[in-house]
């Protein structure tokens, strides 16, 4: 991964989630930080290192200085590991792109003492790794990615919506949520996405393959849906079928884009046949 590009991406991501960075938002309670929250008389049990010399001298009583706690950025990665992600006809699989995006975003999120939590959904029981910082966070992310995508024939309608809802419940502090999926979901997930957007900065990374948008005329082929197991024989040499397929797929992606725009969610469509990192940076800038 080119470091310069990653730095540029870091800037972009930071700007996106600036609202959740320290100093911009008041955290609940008091703790360690740089900004003064209050000065109060020393009580038994207080850390003596927190005694403020100036205040104590002026008042003649020992005072402690309490600060606004600095909150680190917690990022959540919702990674689609359903069987449909194991598809790719260009340079790599959709799952490869998802993995790369997850690693790039994870590396960025772990900077500046950030933490990342991972939720892998779409292949049976969703796998939730609680937020961890630094190396532990990277290890957890790599471990989650190592398991790869789910097996064929496992169909889980509503997995995306459930995953978003779950992140909304466990992510207490405002942060960044990155959803990496092909958004090939029949159930409505927009409501969960809207709820998530109310508290967090959300980035939707849509991974697709050029073959999913158009078919070449290769005659009669039998296709099977990896998730539902639906089999059908289609004559791809018929122009009408190809045109209708292209129109339907274009319409589906257009609906997805407009839906994300309506929810004010950042949308980064990535294809398997292009330099996805460059594309991700360009999209976020």
């Amino acid at each position: 991964m080119p470091l310069a590009l990653l730095d540029a991406l870091a800037l972009a991501v930071t700007r996106r989630v600036a609202g959740a960075l320290p100093g911009d938002r008041r955290a609940a309670g008091v703790g360690a930080g740089t900004e003064l929250a209050q000065l109060r008389p020393y009580a038994f049990g207080d850390d003596v290192r927190r005694i403020d010399a100036a205040a104590t001298a002026r008042s003649g009583e020992p005072h402690v200085r309490l600060e606004v706690p600095e909150r680190t950025l917690t990022s959540w990665l919702a990674i689609d590991v359903s069987a449909s992600m194991a598809f790719g006809t260009a340079d790599r699989l959709k799952a490869d792109v998802a993995e790369g995006v997850a690693l790039a975003v994870g590396r960025l999120a772990l900077r500046h003492a950030g933490r990342i939590g991972v939720l892998a959904f779409g292949a049976g029981e969703p796998r939730l790794l609680p937020p961890r910082g630094s190396k532990a966070g990277m290890v957890a992310l790599r471990r989650a990615l190592r398991d790869g995508v789910g097996t064929d024939g496992h169909h889980e309608p509503g997995a995306l919506g459930d995953a978003l809802g779950r992140i909304g419940r466990v992510a207490r502090q405002p942060g960044l949520v990155v959803v990496i999926s092909d958004f090939r979901e029949q159930h409505d997930w927009t409501r969960a996405m809207g709820n998530l957007r109310a508290r967090h900065a959300v980035l939707a990374v849509e991974v697709h393959d050029p073959r999913e948008g158009s078919l070449p005329p290769v005659g009669r082929i039998a296709v099977v849906d990896p998730e539902t197991g639906q089999r059908l024989e289609v004559d791809t040499s018929r122009p009408r079928v190809r045109e209708r397929f292209e129109a339907l797929e274009a319409q589906r992606r257009q609906t997805l884009a407009s839906e994300l725009r309506r929810l004010r969610v950042d949308h980064a469509p990535l294809s398997t046949d292009e330099d996805w990192l460059l594309q991700l940076g360009r999209r976020l800038r």
Binding site: R184, E212, L215, R220, I221, V223, D225, R231, V241
Partner: protein, 325 residues
């Protein structure tokens, strides 16, 4: 000459029917190939969209070309067995004599409108059903045979004779049958004419003249079958001719004797108590008598039908599937 055996299909080379076994084999091969085609299906996440784009073809329409091809196979396999169709062809020079009773009991109205009229109408139907090349004679009788026409091709004469009858007198069935036999076999020898038959219609017991059963034996010897029709219901009566005040006379038919006549002479007996039924019997007799059954090979129609089905299956499946089924 027989009345039975409806049109049937027989096979000159029944071993050819073994080719029909190829059909289940073809079905097995087809399902196997289809399963193989879908087993190596391409994984495609957008399959749901593609299914909508391709549209749904009703299941039965996908099997139409296959079904046609299988039907073609069946037709060709049957053609291999050389099927034969049994057809009735008129016999040259056949003669039939109608022996019709017009005794007093024929005035009974248990058959609509009355027995005699019903018999006349049925006989007209019979004449219409006979092949044109068949000679028809008629013997009408009551006390004795009175109207006699030797077998002729002129149907009008026969019709006139039949319509000239009035219901009166006794029943001399034996005498009438003897006259009919004389008309068919003038020399008293068998096979004077190639194919002959007598159709006897009577509604009662023989009351005068010779015993009809004896005449039936003669007919048997001359190889002339007598087809008998017993007309009327068992409880039919006619008004007493002596005085209207006297009790009516019972005129039940005599199906037993008629059956005996038919059995002895090699014909068949029918009973009828209804004008429509009577006409049906006569129509059947008219289409069966004086005809013989011949087997005609119909291999070519099966072969042509099979080829047409094959071409239709190919035309239907080519644009859709891109290959023959």
């Amino acid at each position: 000459m027989s009345v039975a055996t409806p049109m049937a299909i027989s096979f000159a080379a029944p071993a050819g029917l073994l080719a029909l076994l190829a059909i289940p084999l073809a079905i097995l091969a087809l399902t196997a190939s289809r399963r193989r085609a879908t087993r190596y299906a391409v994984r495609f996440p957008a399959a749901a969209t593609l299914a909508i784009a391709a549209g749904t073809v009703p299941a039965w329409r996908r099997f139409v070309p296959t079904g046609l091809a299988l039907a073609a196979m069946a037709a060709l396999a049957v053609a291999l067995a050389k099927p034969q169709h049994t057809v009735a062809v008129p016999v040259e020079g056949a003669s039939v004599v109608l022996v019709t009773d017009h005794s007093g009991s024929m005035a009974a109205t248990d058959v609509e409108p009355d027995r005699l009229s019903a018999a006349q109408q049925a006989a007209t139907t019979f004449l219409g059903q006979l092949p044109a090349a068949t000679r028809v004679g008629v013997v009408t009788y009551s006390d004795g045979p009175d109207g006699t026409r030797t077998p002729t091709l002129d149907r009008d004469v026969i019709k006139q004779t039949l319509e000239a009858q009035t219901a009166a007198g006794a029943t001399a069935t034996g005498e009438a049958l003897q006259v009919a036999l004389g008309a068919l076999a003038p020399n008293g020898r068998a096979a004077a004419r190639p194919v002959s038959a007598i159709v006897l219609l009577s509604d009662g017991k023989t009351t005068s003249g010779r015993d009809p059963v004896e005449v039936a034996r003669t007919a048997k010897r001359l190889k002339i079958p007598i087809y008998t029709v017993a007309l009327g219901t068992a409880d039919a009566t006619i008004p007493n001719p002596v005085s209207p005040l006297s009790p009516p006379i019972a005129v039940p038919p005599d199906p037993e004797t008629l059956k005996q006549i038919a059995d002895i002479s090699g014909g068949r007996s029918f009973t009828s108590d209804d004008a429509g039924q009577l006409r049906g019997i006569y129509r059947t007799l008219g289409s069966r008598l004086a005809t013989k059954h011949q087997e005609r090979e119909i291999t070519s129609s099966f072969a042509i039908g099979g080829l047409i089905l094959l071409v239709a299956a190919g035309l239907l499946s080519l644009p859709r599937v891109g290959r023959l089924p």
